[in-house]
Amino acid sequence: MSPDSAAPSVEADIDVDSDVLVEITQAVWASFVDPEVPLVDLGPCVPEPAEAGVVVGSVAILGPVPTVLSVRLSAGAASDVAARMFDIDTAAVSSADVQDATGEIANMIGGNVKAMLPEEHRLGLPSVTAATVGPDPDAALASATLLWGEHTLLVTLDRRPGGSSS
């Protein structure tokens, strides 16, 4: 047995799979986005090239196993989410509204994922960006694709680039 194989993987402490991401995201959606149209689980994410107008809300989970929880959705879906969370017409949604609502969705999912990790993990503050690359299947510890009406969203828990624990 090599030294590498003898060492327990810290990632073994992460008990978060696609089903967990689906369950948490569905709960967040039903409470704050759309209690009437449930999110439909389409299975683990199918990587696609980055497309124009994709919004990504992310929150870092810092600790022994640093990860990033991300929610990717189209600009149209992000506007619809913001409209529902602010209770305004979609036409009245601003980019600041999209940033706020998408960030809070990522924050809530990330916080509930963090609660399933060893207690020394902590949550960063959410950020929202336009996607420049597609999801990286090699970085994903867990992923889920969900259908909301005509919109698709991807939720992924990725190893944090660089692997810094601070």
Binding site: A27, A82, F86, D87, G110, A115, L123
Partner: protein, 131 residues
Amino acid sequence: MHALVVDDSRAMRRIVAGILRTLDFETVEADNGATALAELERLDGEGTVPVLACIDWNMPVMDGLQLVTAIRAERRWRDVTLMMVTTESEHGQIVRALAAGAHEYLIKPFTADAMADKLRYLGLVPAGVGA
């Protein structure tokens, strides 16, 4: 009755304040712990110190745990009921918040009914209101 809603997300402040207004609260909002303290000072000066503060944990500038500690350090605000409204759901975090002086803990995501139940338990919502 006045309630202070402290969260760095405008969307979440709107949702929490909306629920509280259905329970007959007048709401004031702040986007972090530091601005919440400034609002408390202002309301104190007007003689309308809130009976309730709903406080998120993870916020820039001053987080919710620091805010709870700061409020509890002021005797003049000892009657303000503090309820954490947060994704921080680990047992250890709940214990830290309660030890710092929070009265109740509501984990995101939550429903309007769950928030009303907590406030009813705290005696801030009469039975039958918001049921």
